[in-house]
Point group: C2
Chain length 239, copies 2
């Protein structure tokens, strides 16, 4: 971090989720932008949405805001730092999409819980399909100092599991606990169940985006998603 990045907490939080034209350039050539950090993040988010993580180009974001490239360095340590901000935003959007899906289902008992789990998974995959660029950015490596190669050629991987929004994991955990309480999942199959569930959903999303499922229509993909989610629930339910 550098300069005032500490002050804004490094989060994205107050970026207007979808403010149309990126606040398109400052009015009347003010020398100081006023909110350049968030403006750059917003521009970078749009780039990511259109072209994925590789499209998040520092100079392009600066151009969009109407500011010189190096101005970004007053607010971000590096290109990876900016990308990390977009990554955080993407993860938040993913969580929001899951929550939106879960809120629509209100049923009680085993069937209600089952439908809620399905809704969670559908929300996850819906976000991946509707916002592929952001989804890929949310799961891309190489934000901040995650990977790099030192001058002597050795590979460095700093950070470990850093930079992960744990909220989506918590949502899954809560719903799985509910599923056990309600008798949907056998208690002895509970430990580690979030892994199977998450892997299945995430894998399905990846196959939709980068795999051989990328040509399916909306309707076909609906069947696929239901089938996959049904299978993972069946696998967890089996005694």
């Amino acid at each position: 971090m550098r300069a005032n990045t500490e002050a804004t907490g490094g989060g994205v939080g107050d970026v207007p989720a979808a403010s149309g034209r990126a606040a398109g350039g400052r009015d009347k050539g003010r020398y100081h932008h006023g909110d350049l950090r968030n403006a750059l993040i917003q521009a970078a988010i749009e780039l990511a949405g259109e072209g994925g993580p590789d499209a998040v180009v520092l100079r392009a974001a600066a151009r969009k805001v109407g500011v010189s490239a190096t101005a970004a360095y007053r607010h971000f340590d590096s290109h990876g730092d900016l990308l990390g901000a977009v990554k955080d935003y993407g993860q938040q959007r993913l969580v929001a999409c899951m929550e939106a899906g879960g809120r629509e289902v209100h049923g009680e008992g085993p069937e209600g819980t089952r439908r809620r789990m399905m809704a969670l998974g559908r929300g996850y995959i819906r976000f991946a399909r509707q916002e592929p660029g952001l989804f890929r950015t949310a799961f891309c490596r190489k934000a901040l100092g995650e990977v790099g190669i030192t001058e002597d050629g050795s590979v460095i991987e700093a950070g470990g599991a850093s930079g992960w929004d744990t909220r989506s994991f918590e949502m899954l955990t809560e719903t799985l606990d509910e599923a056990v309480a309600v008798g949907l999942i056998a208690p002895d199959r509970r430990p580690g169940a979030e892994l199977s569930a998450w892997a299945m959903v995430h894998g399905t999303a990846m196959l939709f985006l980068d795999g051989p499922l990328d040509t399916l229509t909306e309707e076909e993909s609906g069947y696929v998603v239901d089938r996959v989610l049904h299978d993972v629930l069946a696998g967890l339910a089996a005694s």
Copy 2:
């Protein structure tokens, strides 16, 4: 494609899988390399193995071989073309790793088939963990003309499901058919089963690499993999 890329079929095939020092530079300054295309692919494979798809830098590969950067354009259309060759190679290695896993299991009947499916999945994930750079490259987008942005800003996604090695999919299909024949999977649950199986395995691999499972030890991850594979089989077996 350009020049003689047609002649070698665009495949990698005859690249020595792991020839230590990349054939380290031509001897005695011969003007013509003799096998530059494969030498560049080999160098690019090493780059990918060390740093993933982003490390596959055309100029770096040329440097490794001891040749000028533009020489690569006699054998590849573009950077994406070279990356595509590495991608193909990575997919072949993945298939090889799955086959190696499957060959170790010889049992007959339901239990044998079950163990064979587990071995296939373990091979998939073992490759992802042992060769993360190659694995990521095998599944990276942006080889050849897969994605791009036109001058007017619109996003173009050419190719569709192109560039996919279908062999791994076939192996899965065969084993699933075997599982039905042997009574492991209910026939009515067979259609679409490869999707669930693949999604689960691929998702687990992704969570190991880019997700929150990247800190697990070898032993821990073994349990995780077994658990996940067990779950997906249970899900398919349930009537």
